[in-house]
Symmetry: C2
Subunit: 373 residues, 2 copies
């Protein structure tokens, strides 16, 4: 009943692996649907699992405010609470304290903030974040870090990275001994190579079961994100999973795998689904658009997902226009399924040493769109 | 490939039957979940079917306004459009013209109204209503009628009933010859015995595949509704299904079956589900209530529905409080499943000649509540 990463193969910098956990195996490269407040929005756990997702993400910030970590613990932990038996990764809460809460003040010891729900005051320290994640029972628990927005001054990125490094040490210590669970450190340092390397070295010195790359996809754009990965992933230990936080578009995933990333999470497939948008092998569709009103074809006839293959675009257009919940459910489901199919395709390509072809074909199909399909 | 009702047995006035249709058999007494605008709100067709529903209802008023009957026909009919292969009953649109539209004017020929969506003007006649329902491809198509609200003057009820009778004749003629499909007449006449009998006799004289009782559950209360059934159902042909429109609570269903009704539809289980309420064998629960916040028990451990048996009340409370779509989905699913289980129990009781016991036990459990369970 241990947590163990195995690198099964590589194809250039792209890596194929698996993470064994007591709650099941996570095939990498992996995409983790985001279950913000204890639910991957608009989907049942069975629908999420049907897409091939091995692990989902939960947000410590949301869960600590409602329903509260102690309550979840009394109810048997997050897995039981949300009826999802497989692994869960929880973030530290730090990112959403910065993006959602009000009156945030950071000091050496932690961060104080006001809830976006009711204005109530809360305190998050590395120790409290790890305590919450332990109460939730997360399989993968993230260190508390401070993420700076983009653009940032170099000094500010350096300060936040070094604070995050000190918090990493405290998080690792607070995590303690939890067989079958893992604690991941988070590399910070903005888009500055020397800062990223300092961060990566510092974290490796502490030692974690996995290493995340934080502070990207915060407005810097894909080119700068990828160039930052170019110098960051090589600095991370080979024998540990690498997780790029909060990323991203299908193109982001393919390009980040090409740079050695193993794990991803993003609200994009579900958020887009709730707003009438579909991700497909041939790009993004806006189902609200009138051109779908009489289209009898499905989103993707070749998809294994019922939402993508068994309902017409005309019907989904109708549901979206009518504000029907089923429209959000079907699009969220189809989008998560598309993301999982993309990852399965990536894994298969790496396994067969043809990732470069897969990557080229992916970009070609996205650029060509459906008209050329 | 015909439409045929078979009465399999009776237990007092309660009837056990089945309706054979080319799209599958409808076991009666039957409850039809309401798929207003082409979706049983917040549920996939698979979830609806998993509850044991043999047939769902669609609203002509909603569908004619959006996406439009001609469009649905071009897309292969309502069954294909919404991905539901089994029978669909559509109402005539008349009831919702009265309850939802604006600027409604009724004349001998039909009704003119303004859409609640965009104010656009529309016309519904018996012929147009039947044409729409034929375009939708509904297995059971309802005559256009005029339903008066409660309380009503006797004269007004008589006028609307006689107009409905004339429209019944035109509807029957407009329905024409559609093998495997059925046209139902609708008994009107408010709560007046002689008017109801006049209506029932008139409809039987025209001849329909089934007879509905309209104009009830419009504010008259359960006692008056049931006393109206007491004199109405005996006036309907024994060899045709009887459908009580827009009803009702679990208690309404049990008491109406006891008076010889075979079919029901109501938005109650799904609407309540979207508002945090659950129907159970022991009454109604408000999951928003703080007393559920730490309750690890499911809605009903003995239910066959995953939504009722596999999720804790604490979790559903959390979802409802957080405004999460999954809360609406789980409660709608569990509620429709409860309604179907209730009907299955009723059918089984009639089959075994113990409906009186079932009815008594039902009321006892509802009155006792969970505390006494």
């Amino acid at each position: 009943m241990t947590f163990a990463f195995r690198l099964l193969g590589t194809d250039g910098p792209a890596r194929l692996g698996e993470i064994a956990t007591p709650r099941g195996t996570i095939r990498t490269p992996a995409f983790m649907p985001v279950g913000t407040a204890g639910t991957v929005k608009a989907l049942t756990p069975e629908q999420v699992r049907s897409t091939g997702a091995d692990i989902i993400l939960g947000n410590t910030y949301h869960l600590m405010l409602r329903p509260g970590a102690e309550r979840v613990a009394r109810l048997g932990g997050l897995n039981r609470f949300i009826n999802w038996e497989r692994p869960i990764l929880t973030d530290s809460g730090g990112f959403q304290v910065m993006s959602l809460s009000k009156l945030r003040t950071v000091d050496e010891d932690g961060v104080t903030f006001a809830s976006h729900l009711d204005g109530s005051r809360h305190r998050l320290t590395p120790e409290r974040s790890m305590e919450i994640q332990r109460l939730l029972g997360s399989t993968i628990q993230m260190q508390l870090d401070e993420c700076v927005s983009f653009p940032h001054a170099r000094d500010e990125a350096a300060r936040a990275m070094r604070l995050s490094l000190r918090w990493a040490e405290r998080s690792r210590r607070a995590f303690g001994d939890q067989p079958g669970h893992a604690c991941f450190g988070i590399v910070q340092g903005g888009v500055e190579e020397d800062l990223r390397l300092e961060s990566a070295r510092g974290l490796a010195g502490i030692g974690f079961e996995g290493y995340a790359i934080g502070g990207l996809a915060v407005g810097e754009g894909q080119a700068l994100m990828l160039s930052t990965l170019d110098f960051t992933t090589p600095a991370l230990p080979d024998d540990r999973p690498r997780y790029l936080m909060g990323v991203g578009t299908p193109s982001d995933l393919v390009e980040s795998v090409a740079r050695g990333v193993d794990m991803f999470d993003c609200v994009m497939p579900t958020r887009a689904g709730r707003h009438g948008q579909a991700f497909t092998r041939f790009g993004k569709l806006n189902l609200r658009n009138a051109r779908h009103a009489e289209d009898p074809g499905p989103l993707d006839a070749e998809s294994d997902c019922p939402a993508a293959s068994q309902y017409s675009r005309a019907y989904i257009h109708h549901l979206v226009k009518s504000g029907e919940i089923l429209g959000m459910t079907l699009l969220s489901w189809a989008n998560v399924a598309y993301y999982q199919a993309l990852m399965a395709g990536i894994r298969d390509a790496i396994a067969h040493g043809r990732f470069a072809d897969y990557r080229a074909a992916f970009h070609e199909a996205q650029a060509r769109g459906e008209a050329g399909a």
